[in-house]
Symmetry: C2
Subunit: 345 residues, 2 copies
Amino acid sequence: MSELRKDPIIGRWVVIATERKFRPSDFSNPQEIQQEAFCPFCPGNEDKTPPEIFAKRTGNSVPNGPGWEIRVVPNKFPALRIEGNLNRKGVGMYDMMNGIGAHEVIIETPSHIKDNKEKVDIKDYSLATMLNIIETYQIRSVDLKKDPRFRYILVFKNYGKEAGASLSHPHSQIIATPVVPKRVKEELMGAKWYYEYKERCVWCDIMNQELDSGKRIVEQNESFLVIAPFASYVPFELAILPFRHSPDFDNITQQEKERLASLIITIFKKLSKGLNNPSYNLMLHTAPCRYPHPGYWQTIEKDYHWHIEIIPRLVKQGGFEWGTGFYINPTPPEEVTDFLKSLVV
Amino acid sequence: MSELRKDPIIGRWVVIATERKFRPSDFSNPQEIQQEAFCPFCPGNEDKTPPEIFAKRTGNSVPNGPGWEIRVVPNKFPALRIEGNLNRKGVGMYDMMNGIGAHEVIIETPSHIKDNKEKVDIKDYSLATMLNIIETYQIRSVDLKKDPRFRYILVFKNYGKEAGASLSHPHSQIIATPVVPKRVKEELMGAKWYYEYKERCVWCDIMNQELDSGKRIVEQNESFLVIAPFASYVPFELAILPFRHSPDFDNITQQEKERLASLIITIFKKLSKGLNNPSYNLMLHTAPCRYPHPGYWQTIEKDYHWHIEIIPRLVKQGGFEWGTGFYINPTPPEEVTDFLKSLVV
């Protein structure tokens, strides 16, 4: 079983993932991602994944066979496992617990390769497909939150080799963790401090500021604003913010889902056109499970605001960034905004 | 001039580096690192770098000509510039300041390519060369700390394309920043909290714990311990810790420098042999400038402990890591230790 171990200095939890184990000697001949001769996510190969957790199906198709529009399965090589108890313990001065959690794969569409041999991705989706995906994020997130062992549910997507994707069939992932991850805690703390000082949500303030200046607004519709953040840490970092203040993605309305689907397709058409189909990570940041916790995150309903981060993987981070958390971004977000606004898709 | 911008939520400072600017349209055809036909760091090409700040020279060679053993020059495309005032200001709700700092390159040796066409690196150095480098880190660090505008001096090295290196001639870098970077502040806070609770230094405790268990000790000599940290966030993460408690690398003794030089060469011979010459980042973490600050880092003499981090770049980080700061490490540090101990170099 995997182990969760805590850094004794900065408090970061790390998964030592024994089930996706690399032996030390494996690194001397690093395997590149194989050009997949066989895709376990394509229709007809349903028996090559663990049994499905959820699917949207057409006609009278049956579970774990073809006929699906979207399909959720457990990750075959999970970072965290659903079975077992948390079993927190000390090892000398260190802290650890069992690698309990959930790790699911959302196979976004049956399509994999287009007629021109190019791989399918968000830029190619119909509104219906993208809406399916957003609805599935919501359905799985609501379901996983019922498990009292989990403190956080992260929805994310890795596209392309530079972004850490190991299979090219379009998919997202969900990981449920038994601790609130460090980066999320930092956002929660930052939002809380801002609220204590201003009695306003920091993301609501950011949206007002951005609407006022107009310099970093990439796209918008009636429900969402897309900005290139003022302190973007990498080129083409984008944030999608809902206008309606809500700490929790789970409460997204039908109309918001439709508008979000349309906006995401537009954004990825532009990124693909302007950056020649870049690798990217997409992350959904939402409130932790079961807030407000007694004595903890008391003002979260007012101070936290769910949002989506998009990080194209265009530059490599060196020792300066890793050593300090102090990023050097060679491309001002105002120029990114002008560039993306100029593209017609 | 570059700008320093602060993230309004998590407080991270970012350099928007206009002088090393990529235009948004540059990313659609990402340039690979060119196979350098010409190396500005090789002897004879001294006029292709800005004038040298420091060098160790042999015989009666003159500055900015050949005859050096090690040479320090300003970075030609600096992230931060030495000239000007800090000029902190608000931009609406946001915080920024001018990109003031220093960015120097330490050209570690005149040698670049070996007879077998392989590129030179630490694994190939004599003790004298490695000692020169450590002494130069100390000399430049002590000198840069005299500038009252700087709060932190980071010494680091990027080796190989995966680690963000843009030139292959062996070199390290030093960046002086006008703010204490986020990751360093986390270490300082973590160390302070630990000290308040235990009245002991957390790194001293870690060394005792590791000496006791023996499971994660990769190398040691009379002055230094090399461990694969308990909560390693990437495979083959290594930490070099001095036995003598000291917050500040600047106070390293001659004997310690000699022992550190010898240890570093051994470590890199092993990493190169075991991992087939991997890309890596090396970072020196030391106390910020001019501690104790009134009302700030009061116990730093007792709670902080300088150290070196080595991060081989073997796996790619995906959206999970970026989205949460919660790393999945597929290789237990205990196995890394056994593997490295088994190698004969």
